[in-house]
């Protein structure tokens, strides 16, 4: 491979672009987080007080718990469902291709739009969710109860993201050589055993990747709860991004919002760096 200047030229535009639009804003926000800066009131240096305020703010703790609760539940449900679906559709059956395509439809469904649509699905008096529940004589307060509001968010999130887990697992299922199964069938007839000792171990690296990638995305959740519940009832579904957004663009408390942002960045980065070695190995 040749040395020279050309190699930098190819990377230059992207590197410069990203430097300008991420490093500069990050440094600016980091500085801002040590100031009291509200739009129209000027700026004054207040040291670490924003951070002290963050940890003393009950809504901060509430949204941390909400965000991680929603992320943990939806990621595990999606991973599980994705795996089951992949096992189901992993068989060669006529019509399979169409089903797979249909299943990948929600992948890019605009989350805000899904939340908005969810309003009509979980509508408490005439919505289809409750019409279905009434078959069992139940009426669920989907959007007005603090617990069920979280569930509604999780259900819709599952609808959007299960296809992702499904497609990744399906790729994994297809990559398992047929001979493995043939040999295994000589030993046992139990499908559970075959799953436990062949399929699952061979898919386990995928589980790691899916959980990391899904967790990262799940912690960014914003549009879906924003349009479904606007963080309500009360602050029951006020996930972290909604909290920061409100601080920044409803209260125009820029210094404090920056501090909130950085605390979250620290939390997310800690989680990611724990997986970092694994993530890095993939790209060698």
């Amino acid at each position: 491979m040749r040395e020279g200047k050309a190699r930098y030229l190819f990377l230059m535009p992207s590197v410069c672009w990203i430097l300008v639009f991420t490093i500069f804003p990050l440094v600016y926000a980091a500085r801002l987080s040590f100031f009291s800066f509200q739009l129209g009131r000027g700026m004054s240096f207040i040291g670490g007080w924003n951070y002290v305020d963050v940890f003393n703010y009950s809504r901060f703790w509430n949204s941390i718990i909400t965000t991680f609760f929603i992320a943990a539940v939806s990621v595990s449900v999606e991973t599980g469902l994705g795996l089951l679906l992949a096992l189901h559709f992993g068989r060669e059956m006529p019509g399979n291709k169409i089903f797979r395509s249909l299943l990948s439809m929600p992948l890019f469904a605009t989350p805000v739009a899904v939340g908005f649509l969810g309003l009509t699905i979980f509508y408490e008096r005439y919505g289809p969710a409750n019409l279905f529940m009434s078959l069992f004589g139940l009426q669920v307060p989907w959007l007005s109860n603090t617990f069920w509001a979280k569930m509604s968010v999780i259900i819709l999130d599952t609808w959007i993201w299960t296809p992702f887990c499904f497609l990744v697992f399906l790729a994994g299922v297809h990559s398992i050589p047929e001979e493995m199964y043939e040999v295994a069938y000589l030993d046992t007839q139990s499908r559970l055993k075959i799953f436990r000792f062949i399929t699952l171990p061979l898919l386990s690296p995928l589980i790691g990747i899916i959980v990391i990638l899904r967790l990262i995305e799940a912690l960014k959740i914003f549009g879906l709860p924003y349009s479904l519940t606007t963080g309500g009832p009360g602050t029951a579904t006020e996930v972290y991004p909604i909290l920061v957004y409100r601080m920044a663009l409803k209260h125009f408390d820029f210094g404090y919002a920056s501090a909130l942002g950085f605390v979250f960045l620290a939390i997310v980065m800690t989680i990611v760096i724990t997986f970092f070695k694994r993530l890095r190995r993939i790209y060698e």
Binding site: P106, I121, Y181, Y245, M269
Partner: protein
């Protein structure tokens, strides 16, 4: 896997249809509501033609609205322009990564640095971006959203294209090199044409990412440059829950990305796992 018996096959199709019904329901529900006359909404009717006469009235009203057309136009403009920029500078960077050894910096370090941008919670950026765009007078312009969206889709494009370039046989590239082709010629005469289908897929996925982006669009636009997601996020509380209105709007916003998901099956897995799973 073992062949299924006839009974098992029937079981398979029954389970499949159940899954399909549940999965397709939200989209079916939206489509049905969008062609219902408002009076039918609460009547519990589920099937057009059988239970009620479908109407395109809701669609005409919606598409005739000035702000909807503006949002559709902005969404299209912003996602197309961002995608073009991402593909052009992203493929250059991917080629740079693919072709060269760097002194001092390891290749994976650059890749991980690009990746870290997709990992960072975007909320950290809303305050600085808001102030930045305000300072430059770009608030509420498509330009602001293009700049931001390119930033956050670029890492994705670079990583996937880099992975694709790596699949080009070394011999091809070496042969061109020995024949005296410059790096630029190898890039645009060999690397890009050989990975054109991946380029198209990456472009299409980027288009969907940008189309769906909501946080920054909500932060940086309020009137002139609003996009479809912002239109939806903002109007809900002024109009209340009118089912037919919700349905047409969500479908307008979701059709483009859903069609996209259906059209790029082949690269979806690789794209969405950021190249970690080959698919």
């Amino acid at each position: 896997m073992r062949r299924l018996t006839f009974l098992q096959q029937i079981k398979w199709y029954v389970i499949t249809s159940l899954i399909m019904v549940i999965f397709c329901f939200p989209i079916y529900w939206a489509s049905v509501n969008s062609v219902k006359p408002p009076l039918e909404i609460f009547a519990g009717s589920w099937f057009p033609f059988l239970q009620f006469k479908p109407t395109i009235h809701n669609w005409m009203v919606e598409l005739g609205t000035e702000e909807v057309r503006k949002a559709l136009f902005n969404s299209t403009l912003i996602s197309t322009v961002s995608t073009i920029i991402v593909l052009s500078i992203g493929s250059l960077a991917a080629y740079g990564l693919f072709r060269f050894k760097f002194v001092g910096v390891k290749r994976q370090d650059i890749v991980v640095w690009f990746l870290s941008l997709r990992v960072m919670p975007p909320v950290v950026f809303i305050v600085p971006f808001f102030i930045m765009m305000k300072t430059f007078g770009l608030l509420d312009t498509p330009c602001a959203l293009i700049l931001i969206n390119v930033t956050f889709t670029l890492p994705f494009a670079v990583i996937i294209l880099w992975e694709t370039f790596r699949e080009i046989p070394v011999a091809v590239v070496e042969a061109a090199y020995i024949d005296g082709a410059s790096e630029w010629q190898i890039f645009h005469k060999i690397a890009v044409p050989l990975s054109s289908s991946a380029m198209i897929a990456v472009g299409i996925i980027c288009l969907a990412f940008v189309w769906n982006e909501f946080l920054f669009a909500l932060t940086l636009t309020y009137k002139e440059a609003i996009v479809m997601p912002v239109l939806i996020g903002g109007t809900e509380h002024t109009r209340g829950i009118e089912f037919w209105f919700v349905a047409t709007r969500t479908l307008l916003a979701m059709t483009v990305p859903i069609v996209i998901a259906l059209s790029v099956q082949r690269y979806l897995v690789r794209g969405l796992t950021l190249g970690a799973v080959k698919g």
